[in-house]
Symmetry: D2
Amino acid sequence: MSAPLRVTVWNEHRHERAFDHVAAIYPDGMHAEIARALAERSAGPIELRTATLDEPGQGLGGDILDRTDVLVWWGHRAHDEVPDELAARVQQRVLAGMGLVALHSSSRSKPFMRLMGTSCSYRWRESDDRALVWVVAPGHRIARGLPPVIDVPHDEMYGEPFGIPEPDELVFVSWFTGGEVFRSGCCFRRGAGRIFYFGAGHQEWPVYHQPEIRQVLANAVAWAAGEDDPGISPQAPLHAETGWFEQANQAE
Amino acid sequence: MSAPLRVTVWNEHRHERAFDHVAAIYPDGMHAEIARALAERSAGPIELRTATLDEPGQGLGGDILDRTDVLVWWGHRAHDEVPDELAARVQQRVLAGMGLVALHSSSRSKPFMRLMGTSCSYRWRESDDRALVWVVAPGHRIARGLPPVIDVPHDEMYGEPFGIPEPDELVFVSWFTGGEVFRSGCCFRRGAGRIFYFGAGHQEWPVYHQPEIRQVLANAVAWAAGEDDPGISPQAPLHAETGWFEQANQAE
Amino acid sequence: MSAPLRVTVWNEHRHERAFDHVAAIYPDGMHAEIARALAERSAGPIELRTATLDEPGQGLGGDILDRTDVLVWWGHRAHDEVPDELAARVQQRVLAGMGLVALHSSSRSKPFMRLMGTSCSYRWRESDDRALVWVVAPGHRIARGLPPVIDVPHDEMYGEPFGIPEPDELVFVSWFTGGEVFRSGCCFRRGAGRIFYFGAGHQEWPVYHQPEIRQVLANAVAWAAGEDDPGISPQAPLHAETGWFEQANQAE
Amino acid sequence: MSAPLRVTVWNEHRHERAFDHVAAIYPDGMHAEIARALAERSAGPIELRTATLDEPGQGLGGDILDRTDVLVWWGHRAHDEVPDELAARVQQRVLAGMGLVALHSSSRSKPFMRLMGTSCSYRWRESDDRALVWVVAPGHRIARGLPPVIDVPHDEMYGEPFGIPEPDELVFVSWFTGGEVFRSGCCFRRGAGRIFYFGAGHQEWPVYHQPEIRQVLANAVAWAAGEDDPGISPQAPLHAETGWFEQANQAE
């Protein structure tokens, strides 16, 4: 039997405390609701932890990252308050094999931007747009158990052009009432780690209460965990002595 | 000064002869209108030829393919009437360096399907959908001179999931009134050739009369020509003698 | 507990019957040895079957393909004797979700070439080259449990340029004594299926007896199975009625 | 007639001043020799400038980057002395459309690492390895005019695993006497810019004096310039008003 998957859900946790209408949707914070979704829908045993920006060490001090298999990240208005040092640690852990699921406006978070190397910019509009999230890769792990399209009654509009590297695998493309489209589900492999960006989830609408969206979250964590994968990747140049392969051969 | 680009526009040319309302839009056939668009907007010298299914040799007999740098293809209802042998010749020429621009329903044409190796299927609806064609790769050659989005008043809806290999470069994603999205501008490199699929252009609407769409056609031909690229690629296994590199070294 | 993985190992089975020195290495045929490797190293329960060219229906008649989760293919001198109809059936099953592991000279087999759409040609030399198979994607499922490089004392040389589409993931690159390199471990996703090409395994050397190579075979089958993936992908255009999403919404 | 391509060749310029045997090969610095190669082999008009680390502003002050179409970068022992602020400016210029050609050990330079987001680590050995640089994408602009393999009599060995994102296009793979392989020619598209990494060019051997290598440099600059491409890409989220597309429509 396999060890439980260790997942840490990180949230900025500012909107929920600043605005009553956000608190009404996420009274315990978005991290709590996301963690509930994962507990509810995880395909295997899972060990959940949450962390928020205003906790000591931004909630990610000590060896928490080292004991995290997949980190879920939700940030929006306070990207700049995340220390560069923490962003660098998240990046290193991803390259060393940790999964990262970056949600909604976390496209512009420091850890995600460091891993992409690009502007990660996009078109946007806060309104009452309806979003249709289409599955464009029906055979993908992250599409498991989903209908062909997820109908999100209201969400913030994020649209193209989205300033990312060409995704290694594109899973979702979203449609918005206002006329825009968005590559809203993007897989990236970096070092030994896997990164999934998912566009849905504005704080002002109950998007993470929706069953299909909760399924996406659980699927994304499972994919990012890549549980079968060994997760080794060199982090610094390796020196090779001359003649190593002749010697290797003699040893056999 | 460089030699003119040799472009052949192939069209099934059946709808225009069978239906008055199509003939009203394309009285000389869609191939003629597409060729006019290319003549009008090509960035460099261009030598245009058209060819249609009901001509001898399907219009592509003799050495026409060998003297074609970029082949534009429009087919819909008569895919099955294209001989397998012709589809194989088109495939071989693409692998040897010819560009191919496959338009609209040509996603299910024999040459394109052979080159993709996949189902190339999609969701569809003939209706009066408005289509918004978004540029998702603003720096791409095919996006040159285009606005961020092309507003096509009416077109047939083609939607996801689209059964293609992951495109090497994704240039356009379309939005439809009816709620769908579609990867409508897809680049593929195969052998020494370049392939561009472009989704717009139902025969029942004057899509190829629209200035921005004409610009896409000209850009796509220029990109598919890859004029700077040498266009060599082996078509059969090459045998290598033992010791070739020691000999090569001595010869210097 | 999950159902056993159903794997069919297909082999041309000609060299072993025609040449004593090949029969000495693979007395029961290469398929039998490959199947033994899979039985020995599969991470989960597995149900193995073998099939060869000279059996009725080329060993793949009836519903065998439909009851196969991963097909392993080894062909060399008799590619042309595989009926087109069978190659088409294999292609369709892959697009519908079956995994395919194409070994060595199977790069030029009909099913693999149909799925790639390219020449699949390469440089080659039958000699006594030593091959070093390097892992270039250490975090990949197919690299699990492997050393950084696999030292194959002798194998046929297959070298670049290799006429394939850009692989979706590149796992191995091989080095040969004679000076060549080769992208010898290539992943492709097509439709709902996964395809892995692996270059090692000339019939004249005991390559498939080597422990690390056997591990590659088992890993490749596991990856190609993509056991977590749902394996659905449309095979033909889907028609969509106008207004489907308004109706879907009302039904909720 | 098109404007000349504006190319800046940046070099750390430390080894040449610290070691006589390096100075003997590159008496004016490696940047001077690289610039000579570009002047000699550029396909079109070119305006060359060089810049080095110990010049004021690291040679890249004022608006030099803004007036550079392609930046060639060679750094090795002094990566850390490049200010973060300069690395960030290079990154931004690339995303806005400038080409970047990163040579040899510049894989670990700050600008390249910021753009990749990964470890960019590799295996290495300073020895007298012979390197064979194979063309794996014969149809690519960067392979123009090259033989199938470039024989470099001596170079530093850089080998796999190379900690980069999957290249958008792989052009060269190198073979080394000592048994290693390396993805030595890698194309990346990021924002509106193009990045080419090329592995050859240790300071202790006259690699950049070799004709084929000089051709690679000229080809790489031409490709990175992407002269046909418009080079626009948003750098920050764009706000979209509700109803923009209805209004756009009425305006027509």
